[in-house]
Every structure is written in C-alpha cells, then in structure tokens.
C-alpha cells in the first residue's frame, strides 16, 4: 500500500517514514508535488514545532489539494501539529487558519504548577468508536511532546489528562488525527499506524 507523507519543512520526517516502511507501506514524500496528493491512496501529515509552519501548506497549494483528497475519501492522518491543523486554527498563530474539518481552536495548556510543554508517556482514555484506535485498550501509553492541544468535542475518540483533559485523538469519517507520536509510541503506536494502513477508502 502506498502512503503520501507531506513535507512542509516542519521538522524531521525520518522517523515517520521509517516506521511506515517498517509496516510494509511504500511511503513517498510530497514537498509540494501536487500530483502525489492527487493520486494519493493515503495521506499522512506529520509536523512538530510551530503552528505557523502550516502556512507553507497554503502557499504551496497543498491545502486545496488535501481538501480535494479528503472529499474523495482518501484516509488522512494528521500527527501532532498535523492534527492541530485539522481544527479551525490555533492561538499559537492567530492569523493562520487551519483546515476547519474539526470544530474549535487549539489553545495552549493553562498556566499551572505543571511544566509546559507536556513531554513524555501518558495514557489514553477511549471514547466513541474509532477505526484508528481499534484494539487499543483503555490506559495504554503513548508519547507526547507539545504545548498546544485540541479541544474535546464529539469527534474526539481519545482524551488524555495533563493539567486538563485534551483531545489525544480525533476521527470523523476518513479524517483522523493524533496529538501524540505513534511512530515513537512503541507497540501501541505501531498498532495504530497499522490500523491506519488497513482502513479502506
């Protein structure tokens, strides 16, 4: 199976590509090559760092190509900032709109005595049915590193608690997102990525 991984210069793709290939996928990188999105069978949008980096998706014409692919029913997975981009936007970069597939805006963790960023292994509380999280048991641990997070809505399929509950995973139809890094989350992460590769259009 083929996966198009989108490179918009927001961090290192090596880990994501390596993990997808380990699972038997043919991973190809689109750094602005629209044909690879138009012909995509599956799309992964990774990303670490700042929400402002998603501006490159707009300027390179990727946003409209992704919107068309989603409308075509192509399974889509956003990871970390790639998940946050699926909401309407983020207070991290107020002028930069997200895709708006999911309702609400990403916000920074509230100030508290806890450290920000949230870094390390934390557990998943499951809610609603999810094709992406099939076979994941309540309380399984995954690896996070982030300071901003998505709101809990009806599309949230897993929450995690740090300072406050936030959306660890979202899913509606063929569009999915995870705040954590499945490529760094041991066997649980591999199970989730395998699920993504097996979801049919």
């Amino acid at each position: 199976m083929r996966v198009t991984v989108i490179d918009y210069k927001a961090g290192n793709l090596t880990s994501v590509l390596k993990t997808l290939r380990h699972l038997g996928a043919e991973a190809v990188v689109s750094d602005g090559n629209l044909a690879l999105i138009e012909s995509a069978e599956r799309i992964v949008l990774p990303g670490v760092g700042h929400f402002a980096a998603t501006q490159r998706l707009d300027s390179a014409g990727l946003t409209s190509a992704i919107r068309a692919a989603i409308a075509r029913g192509v399974p889509f997975l956003g990871v970390c900032v790639g998940m946050q981009w699926l909401y309407s936007g983020s207070t991290e970069a107020p002028g930069q709109p997200g895709l708006g597939h999911f309702d609400g805006q990403c916000t920074r963790f509230s100030e508290s005595t806890e450290k920000i960023p949230h870094v390390g292994w934390n557990s998943l509380a499951l809610r609603n049915g999810s094709r992406l999280l099939a076979g994941v048991e309540p309380g399984e641990f995954v690896y996070f590193t982030h300071s901003y997070k998505g709101p809990v809505t009806t599309d949230t399929t897993a929450t995690t608690h740090y300072i406050e509950p936030f959306a660890a995973a979202v899913e509606r139809g063929n569009v999915m997102g995870v705040q954590f890094h499945p490529e760094k989350s041991g066997d649980t992460g591999l199970k989730i990525l395998r699920n993504f590769l097996e979801i049919s259009c």
Partner: protein, 259 residues
C-alpha cells in the same frame, strides 16, 4: 497521568557499546543496535546514545551506528557527543535520531541551540549540562558550576543560570549530570536537580549517582526530575527497565506499565 521516564543510556566508542570508568579500561558491551532494541523491549521509555569517540574519522562510523540503531527502534531516540554545528545535527537527524544532545558546543556558541531548534523543533534539542557543586560558594547548590571536556574544564558558568538561558534560547529538555554524584552509586544529587528543575519549565533528566531503585524514587520526588538516565544500574543492580519500573510503581512513582 504523565509518567516519569526511565531512559537507557549507551556509551558508544568506534561503533560499539562500551563500559568503563572515566573513559579508561573500556570493556566491549555489545552492538548498539542490539542493545538499544533490548532496552526498548525490556521497558526503557527512551534511548540515549552518547558517542565518546569524538574524532573526525569517527563521525561516519557514528552515523552508520545511528542509522542501524534507529531502524528497528520505535521509542524516542537521542544522540549526543561531538555535535558541534547545525550541519552535524542535521546529519544525525537524517540518520534517524529524534533528538540530539549538545554540551560544550552550546556553551561555546549558544546560538547553536536556536539554529537547530528552528529547523527541527525545540523538542529535538537536549542541552546536556555537567555540573559540580561549589563548596566555596555561599550557596554550593545554586552556585554549582558547569564543566566541559568530560568534566576537566571549568567554565565559570552557574548551572542554574545556564539551564535557564538554554531554555530561553529554545532548548527542549535539560540533561543534568552531577559530577559529584557520578560514579558513586550513592544517589542522585537531588538538591542540584531540584534547583535546576525549578528554574526551568522544560523537562529535566537527572543523571549520575544511581545505585538503587530508591535513588530513582528520590530524584523524582525530592529532585523534581521528569526523567532519569539509567546506565550502570543495569550492569550492577536491577537487570531491566521493566523491573526498575515495577519497583518504582510499588513505591508510588507513576511509570509506564505494562511496558
């Protein structure tokens, strides 16, 4: 609940894991890729590989080692040792590291921290600090001094201040080694770790001095550490990260279990 991380550390010389004291009497302890995979399988939350070769010819060997180690590793993987420029860091990331750790080079050129962070994200930049208490100072802990070159050269910098500056410049984590505690197996320097951890908002990884499970529990509670580096405990004491974490869980420390 966010758990405390147990990070397995591998010292690597010329492509092999080595055990030794102060870089002398090195004993071959196996292949880095095999050892890293074993630690991950046995419950380590993260792997750190420190290259102690630090020669120019050694860089290609290191990159090959990183590539082989990263291939089958699906937990966070940090590589340190001999990273002097943003280009060095880029090569290590391309070989498969998730984070790099910088020490002397960041002190010599603090802009290196932001330069690497700009391209790869702050979460990918670990600043390693080797510090020693200053017994002559009014506050030996808060005035603990930073050393470089394997602890041989004093810098005149205060560890607490340098950690704070590193955070301001975009470091994602601090790896703090107490030179007083290192090698003693008498426990971490909890006071120093707490002083640094309270001075920053980013995670602090404690290193140096672990000899028992109780030492880990102590550095998480009193030392306010977010993670702890485990090396010699796996040689001398507890045989795996899983056993260490099971004992920590029994002592009330939140850890990733089952793992």
């Amino acid at each position: 609940m966010l758990t405390k991380r147990i990070i397995a550390c591998l010292d690597v010389h010329a492509g092999r894991v080595v055990k030794g004291v102060q870089f002398v009497d090195l004993v071959d302890a196996g292949d880095p890729a095999t050892q890293a995979a074993r630690h991950a399988r046995e419950g380590a939350d993260e792997i750190v590989l420190l290259d102690i070769t630090a020669t120019h010819e050694g860089r290609q060997t290191l990159l090959d080692t990183v590539r082989r180690t990263a291939r089958e590793l699906f937990v966070p993987f940090t590589v340190g040792g001999g990273i002097r420029t943003a280009r060095d860091a880029e090569q290590v990331f391309e070989a498969g590291a998730d984070k790099i750790s910088v020490n002397s080079a960041a002190l010599a050129d603090p802009m290196l921290i932001s330069a690497i962070g700009r391209s790869f994200g702050a979460q990918a930049v670990v600043v390693a600090i080797d510090a020693r208490r200053d017994p002559a100072a009014a506050d030996p802990v808060r005035d603990a001094e930073v050393f470089v070159q394997g602890g041989r050269k004093p810098t005149g910098r205060r560890a607490v201040e340098w950690a704070h500056e590193a955070e301001q410049r975009g470091a994602g984590e601090i790896l703090l080694t107490s030179m007083d505690a290192d090698g003693t197996r008498a426990g971490f320097d909890c006071e120093l770790t707490a002083a640094v951890s309270e001075a920053v908002s980013i995670p602090v990884i404690a290193s140096g001095g672990a000899g028992t499970v109780g030492h880990f529990a102590d550095v998480f509670a009193r030392g306010k550490a977010d993670a702890a580096l485990a090396a010699s405990i796996f040689h001398f004491g507890v045989s795996s990260a899983r056993l260490l974490k099971e004992e920590l869980a029994a002592a009330g420390v939140p850890v990733r279990l089952p793992c």
